[in-house]
């Protein structure tokens, strides 16, 4: 399994090389091989006797992070969607993206996404899952912003990133809590210990965090706002990421953890409540859109809500229907997205108000669109897969719950009605989408391009998807026992057998379907009359505005706070840094009782040292008050020479010599430069600033003194110097221990020291040279 994740990544490395020949052969043809081979590999697992398999590779054992993968029915459904739709989308993109585009980047991002998404659905380790999860957000960000010269693309990319990464982070919080409670990082092992998790006092927090991750990713109300803006991506990307695969990662997450959370009574209320709300809101808003892809985006939101509410119900029928609808949605919505891309490509616009009457001009696309849209609407026809899962959805909403919560009771009563309302609007926008685009009077003069049917290559992918719609519609049991039953079993944890039949007799779901069709058709015909509703609901209400306000607010305040201390004055920065060092050190010293002073082990005091020390102290203080630059430089020299005297007294002959030489050169250098530097001035700082500087400087000096005394007074470890004294002659062959340390024992340090000096010398040379050239101009 690991290699199916690694192959796209490895292949992505070579894509830029293939992109070099893009004038001769479209890069997409090479890339096509990757999802196709993965799809064929996973096809072999379909069958009635499929058993989950797992594989594990050690990665970071100390953190309990291993690359462990687990392929069960749920993962299998998703990997087949990812690789299958991936193949079709790649093929479609060959015709959609012109050779002049940056094909290399596009396919690198696409393969990155493919690998990340396969990683999400195959990982059994929560941290590996999280890593891949965020990787899908990043690749989605890159793909939405593919045409980055457009402001709308950049806005959409950033928005999707903000919202999904926010969700991802909170999901990480939930996963870490799960890890802490269960002591394992494996999802399957967590499901085994579900009793511990369910009794944990952290359960509400865990559920909230993980649901936030799932709801943001799957664009559930009110986090759905990123999906319509994500439609700025190239259409193959919208069809792939923002309809068939990535947005279903949230569904996958809920399904993965369903065996644990379904036993909690809040699961139904939250997941089904949000899901059904999203279904209604998404389909209601879709009718109002004028952009073809906008309609499809809201439609995707509402369909995701449908699947989410099915998972929330959590009964056998509901879980089977959720798996079934995930598959069906990918087929019909994928084909519709591709048709929308074709219409855009051939007419130059996606604005449904300008479109119309394209049936005769794009006959094949129109036919495909009718199949796709009717399947989405849930038309009761025996060759459309959408109807079956829609019926099962109605069936599931009618199953009564024995949930003690009042909210759950109310929701249980309301859900069938809400399902019908949501489905009515689904019906309306489906009709609006196809009839608005393909029937009526053609307004050719309003179109930027003269439309004609798309090239065959572009039609292949939607044709294959529509064939899947029809085949599943005609023979639904083809995917039943061998495939969906395993998925449903993997979600729920027990065996689910379901018979998919077209005619179930006169039962409530049928009446619900009929209501949807009749009322939907009525409302579609009269939609001009009731469209005023939108001025009331949502009216001025907009979650986008809330998002924009938050983003603008955060940016304003953070720049205000940053600017309050980052004012460009280096003095200010140094003062802040010093203050921080002093405060943290003093707090630590007092908190840990670190200060100590011992007077029993001190060297004796001699007059010579005292004399040198006092001279140095006076000279150092003198530099502060010096008004003449020569005086200041010479006083500084006094400090340096005093230090070399101290080195002599403290038996460090090498240091004394070096310090003497260095000090002499430094003073000479100072005097060389001083001629060009302005003379010292009396500072024009106010008393307040002087005082502050004085306090900072004094407290820093005091701190160093206290640290020196404490460090000297406490010896915690035996010194390592003895080693050097003992081995200096043996290992280095020299009598001067300091020299041996520098050139033998720590030879590399000295090498780097020489390098630093060399760099400084080069920089100085450069700066001196620069002056010459400037003056030569």
């Amino acid at each position: 399994m690991l290699f199916t994740i690694i192959i796209p990544l490895l292949f992505a490395i070579f894509v830029p090389a293939f992109a070099k020949w893009k004038d001769k052969i479209h890069t997409g043809y090479f890339v096509l091989l990757v999802p196709l081979s993965i799809f064929i590999y996973y096809l072999q697992f379909i069958g009635e006797d499929f058993q989950p398999i797992s594989a594990s590779y050690s990665w970071i054992p100390s953190l309990m992070i291993s690359l462990s993968f687990y392929l069960d029915g749920l993962s299998l459904l998703f990997v087949l969607l990812i690789s299958g739709i991936g193949t079709l989308v790649t093929f479609y993109s060959i015709y959609y993206l012109h050779k002049s585009e940056r094909l290399g980047s596009f396919y690198v991002y696409l393969l990155l996404f493919m690998a990340a998404m396969l990683g999400v659905v195959l990982s059994d380790n929560i941290f590996v899952l999280y890593t891949f999860w965020e990787l899908t957000s990043i690749s989605s960000f890159l793909l939405i912003g593919y045409w980055h010269h457009r402001a709308a693309s950049r806005y959409g990319a950033l928005k999707s990133m903000m919202i999904t990464v926010f969700g991802g982070l909170s999901m990480l919080g939930g996963l870490i809590l799960l890890n802490v409670i269960t002591g394992t990082t494996s999802i399957q092992a967590m499901i085994q210990q579900k009793d511990i998790i369910l009794e944990s006092p952290y359960l509400p927090i865990i559920m909230t965090f993980i649901f936030l991750g799932a709801f943001t990713k799957s664009a559930q109300f009110p986090f759905h706002i990123w999906l319509p803006d994500a439609m700025e991506a190239p259409t193959p990307v919208s069809a792939y990421l923002h309809s068939a695969t990535m947005v279903k990662a949230g569904i996958f997450l809920i399904a993965r953890f369903l065996p644990i959370f379904v036993l909690n009574e809040w699961f139904f209320v939250v997941v089904s409540g949000i899901g059904i709300l999203t279904l209604c809101w998404g389909s209601f808003m879709a009718v109002r859109q004028t952009d073809l892809k906008g309609i499809l985006a809201f439609s995707t939101i509402s369909q995701l809500g449908l699947i989410m509410s099915l998972l929330g119900i959590g009964t056998k029928t509901a879980i089977f229907a959720a798996a079934f609808h995930t598959l069906n949605h990918a087929t019909f919505k994928g084909s519709l997205f591709m048709i929308a891309g074709i219409v855009d490509h051939e007419t130059g616009t996606r604005d449904i108000r300008k479109l119309g009457g394209l049936m005769t001009l794009l006959p094949i696309s129109a036919t495909l669109a009718f199949f796709g849209a009717f399947s989405m609407a849930g038309m009761p026809l025996p060759f459309l897969n959408g109807f079956y899962s829609k019926e099962m959805f109605f069936d599931a909403t009618l199953e009564l719950h024995d949930n003690p919560l009042v909210g759950a009771q109310l929701l249980g009563q309301a859900i069938p009605y809400l399902a019908v309302i949501g489905s009515i609007f689904t019906f309306i926008y489906s009709m609006y989408l196809v009839f608005g685009t393909f029937t009526g009077k053609a307004k050719l003069d309003q179109l930027p391009k003269k439309p004609h049917e798309a090239p065959l290559g572009m039609l292949v992918s939607p044709i294959l998807l529509v064939i899947a719609v029809i085949v599943i519609g005609l023979f639904p049991n083809l995917v039943n026992q061998s495939f969906l039953a395993h998925t449903a079993e993997a979600i729920s944890g027990y065996q689910i057998e379901k018979n998919i039949v077209f005619w179930q007799g006169f039962i409530p779901p049928l009446f619900m379907s009929i209501t949807v069709v009749v009322l939907g058709a009525l409302l579609y015909v009269t939609r001009k009359k009731w469209s005023k509703v939108y001025t009331v609901i949502p009216g001025n209400l907009s979650f986008n505005r809330v998002y924009d306000k938050i983003i603008v607010g955060v940016e304003t305040y953070s720049s205000k706070i940053t600017n309050s201390y980052m004012n460009g004055s280096l003095r200010r920065y140094i003062a802040l840094i010093m203050t921080m060092i002093v405060v943290t050190t003093f707090v630590t010293i007092f908190a840990t009782g670190g200060f100590q002073i011992k007077t029993d082990d001190l060297a004796e005091v001699s007059y010579a040292e005292i004399f040198v020390a006092v001279t140095m102290a006076l000279a150092a203080i003198g530099t502060v008050f010096a008004r003449n630059k020569i005086a200041a430089i010479l006083i500084l020299g006094v400090v340096g020479y005093g230090l070399s005297l101290l080195f002599v007294i403290y038996r460090a002959p090498d240091l004394a010599l070096t310090q003497l030489v260095v000090e002499t050169i430094t003073v000479a250098l100072f005097l060389l430069c001083f001629y060009h530097l302005p003379n010292l001035r009396k500072t024009d700082d106010t008393i307040g600033i002087k005082l502050t500087n004085g306090i900072i400087a004094t407290s820093f000096g005091t701190m160093m003194t206290l640290v020196a005394i404490s460090a000297h007074s406490s010896k915690w470890f035996p010194t390592i110097s003895d080693y050097y004294v003992e081995t200096s002659y043996k290992l280095g062959g020299g009598d001067n221990i300091v020299n041996i340390i520098l050139v033998d024992m720590r030879g590399l340090d000295t090498l780097f020291e020489i390098t630093v000096l060399g760099i400084a010398a080069l920089a100085i040379y450069g700066m001196v040279k620069l002056r010459g050239e400037k003056e030569g101009e």
């Binding site: 002073i597 004796e604 430089i633 500084l636 400090v639 403290y650 460090a652 260095v662 400087a697 003194t705």
Partner: protein, 112 residues
Amino acid sequence: MEIIMSILSGILFTTGIYNLLQKQLLRIIIGTALISHGAHLFILTMGKLKRGAPPILEYDISQYTDPLPQALILTSIVISFGVTSLLLVLAYRVSKRNETDNMDLLRGNENE
């Protein structure tokens, strides 16, 4: 003696930091030089003072002063020499180019 040296090192740090917080480039360079002097004295004091002969092996001596701080300081002296020279030339270039050595006026501008 160690305590007196600790205090001296503190004084060097104090004056060094105070100079560092001034506006004039020359003062800032003097400040960095003082701070490195303070640091050298600090490290030397850590290794205890005057405990034996200079760290050069002789047959009849077994007690030497700690050679490790000396090795560290030797490296540091050379490095701080490099830093001071670089700063000096840099300060010279900057004040030549911008015709000021006042740090408050050397902030760059918004468009850079």
